[in-house]
Amino acid sequence: MSGTTQDVRELLGQKYQAGFYTDIEQEQAPPGLNEDTLRFISAKKNEPSWLLEWRLKALERWRAMPEPKWAHVHYPPIDFQAISYYAAPKSAKDKPQSLDEVDPKLLETYAKLGIPLEEQKMLAGVAVDVVFDSVSVHTTFKDKLAAAGVIFCSFAEAVQKHPELVRRYLGSVVPVTDNYYAALNSAVFSDGSFVYIPKGTRCPMELSTYFRINAMNSGQFERTLIIADEGSYVSYLEGCTAPMRDENQLHAAVVELVALERAEIKYSTVQNWYPGDENGVGGIYNFVTKRGDCRGAHSKISWTQVETGSAITWKYPSCVLRGDHSVGEFYSVALTNHHQQADTGTKMVHLGRNTRSTIISKGISAGRGQNAYRGLVRIAKSAENARNYTQCDSLLMGDKCGAHTFPYIEVKNASAKIEHEASTSKISDDQLFYLRQRGIRAEDAVNLIVNGFCKEVFKELPMEFAVEAQKLLGISLEGAVG
């Protein structure tokens, strides 16, 4: 569409709108990774000795593991000794009891991002556990959740108050040795969120955590653990934006979900970390391990993700369908523009009888972006009558980008029924012309088509997240005519 080339360049060149940096004094560990680093972190957090031992064992295992090379991404070697593994806002020592006690600069940061805490407190039904760098500084709606018996707190707090739950489930879904970055996280994780939903309880509100990365040279190693006890339900929202920085920042989170009998966990993510500039300088390395264990019969775990940020995304939210009749779902929109790279997808491991999984993946590549779907569907011999449906579609916008599909399908039981469909195409000129003929501006037309392409995923998001997701796609891509 030569007539709109100029518009396209301008629109594709949209600056990252959450890009700014707040200057807050940090209490920071010196860069480097060894046993002393772990002892420093553990002591800072006043952890029990079993947890320090766990961290030390993870470090030992990590040292023996090779860095994975199989993903379809390219980046310079990471110097793990140059990273600072602990940073906390100074005010962490005396945790603020109300917003008045919170560093005003921090509140300002959230205001710029459009999520002032005051408003969030009033948002009906949404509790917010804000993670600023590595330490939780604020939680809300605790009373209401406490009345329902729901535990929603920072990971560090859970270690202090609910050590028996943490000890029982930590590492039970993602073992320490699962992969290189999970092992690293296990050694150095600083904080994160912890959720426990008691038997038969429907969590009275959607739980959400806004992650921010804000400290120079401090990797982020969140640890999230969500346990849904028998017959319970929880919807958890995770949203991320990050201030603009030039250095590449490593993020290696681990999220573990456990769903017991008839429990359901819905985990939604909108990820908008700093992707680097138009030339591929800077941006977050997002190497995340997310896995859910459908441990009980009739349990269900549903992952929905909208990935528009990060320089590199390496992420496979997965489900182990252990319980009979358990259900796993994965809905994903991943967008890469400029020099972004994404290698993302899911694993559905069917072990129980009558287990079902659905995978809907939508990849959008623009600029020089490289977008890969990597998925595994494994039907074990024990998984009688397993079902999987997979659909992965890629949309190309521009002749320098790439879209790749690497699905692995392994079936060891004849009663399984597996369907996999994939397509790759560019935005059709016919569709664009049709919409423009009706009076819709080129960039709006592209937006309409892209949002239409992603609709099956957006409809899985909670309402306010769906709106934010559409806005993010608009900002990142509006008018990107192929």
Partner: protein
Amino acid sequence: MSEFIAALERAFAPGAASSPIGALRRRAFETFAARGVPSLRDEDWKYTDLSRVLAAPCALSPAATASSALPAYVDGAARLVFVNGVYSAALSAAAALPAGVTVHRFDELATRAPDTLAPLLERQATGRAGPFAALSAAFAADGVYVDVAADAAPDSPLHVVFLRTDTAEPAFSAPQLLVSAGHHSRLTLVETHAGGAGSRVSAAVTEIRLADGATVDHYRIVDEPAAASHLGNVYLQPGRDAIATSWSFVVGAGLARVDLHAELAAPGAAVVLNGLFLATGKAHVDHHVRIDHAAPHTTSAQVYKGIANDRGRGVFNGKIVVHPDAQKISATQASNNLLLSDDAEIDTKPELEIYADDVVCQHGATIGRLDDDSLFYLRARGVPRDVAEAMLSYGFADEVVAPVAVPALKAWLEARLTGAAIGREDAA
């Protein structure tokens, strides 16, 4: 070094290092030995374990004249027959070769025109075609180079048959079939790997190069005994506006691995790749397809069907790569699989790697058993269960078998499938 490689090295007699062929064979063997036998850790061999079948030492197949029966569909046709890797004038019908088709045997070329033969084997010797193509080039004592003249359009198919005799000891051979189709020529080629009982390993290479506007229909049948390991390698290179169609039918072999690679490097080039395999007993059948769209306006279409029964295991890996600036590409791929037993297994991995934007690429994969409703419908009409299953399995395979344009071959496949699908080999 494994005993398998060590034994081959002892038997290796490449000829004088000063000759182009001797030098090439040495190089090819070094390529293979340096690479070694792939393991499951190798992404390309993730689902196919060679450690058992390529553990024992293997002798070279003895020269033999003992005749094995030719497959029924070959009878009477123009044919070149090799027994244990050596040309058999007695079984061949070379006089009946179609007009415009010239045949050169490797052992003649090696002595008479080594400078013609060496470049033909170069791609294999470099290792670019994988370890077993290199191994094949190292040991290819005899083989055939088929040259089709420009504009030639023979009206009957050419058969090339690689037979093996019964052997008591594990034996190795390296069949080779290289084809060069002149511009605007047309050729139908039927390649068969079959023969007697006994443990054996074949490293077979087929390369078909098509000049501009040429059309080749290639049928490749692997029908070997359960003790055989077939490591096949097919390479297709169509020129501008040329169309290469290649069918892979694997109906027998304990382990069959077929690597197919098509390079579409000229505008208008097209490939159609179809396949059907039956993995019964303990058979393991693996098709690995890679298609490189390196030029604009190129087209590829693939349909692979697999039927796994008993303890059989089927593997399909299809990779379509669209290179930067290769615009206006159409590529489709389907991998459809039928599991007929609880001990059978299917692993499939249809991949797309796309670096251009003006493309329409699609793939689909299905794995399942026979449709219960259809089965019930037939049984309710009075069709016995095993017959109903055979009918439905055949129906499943029909999409790939129906277009076979060599009537005798099609009839043979139909009979073979309706029998084998229900585990009754004798029905063929």
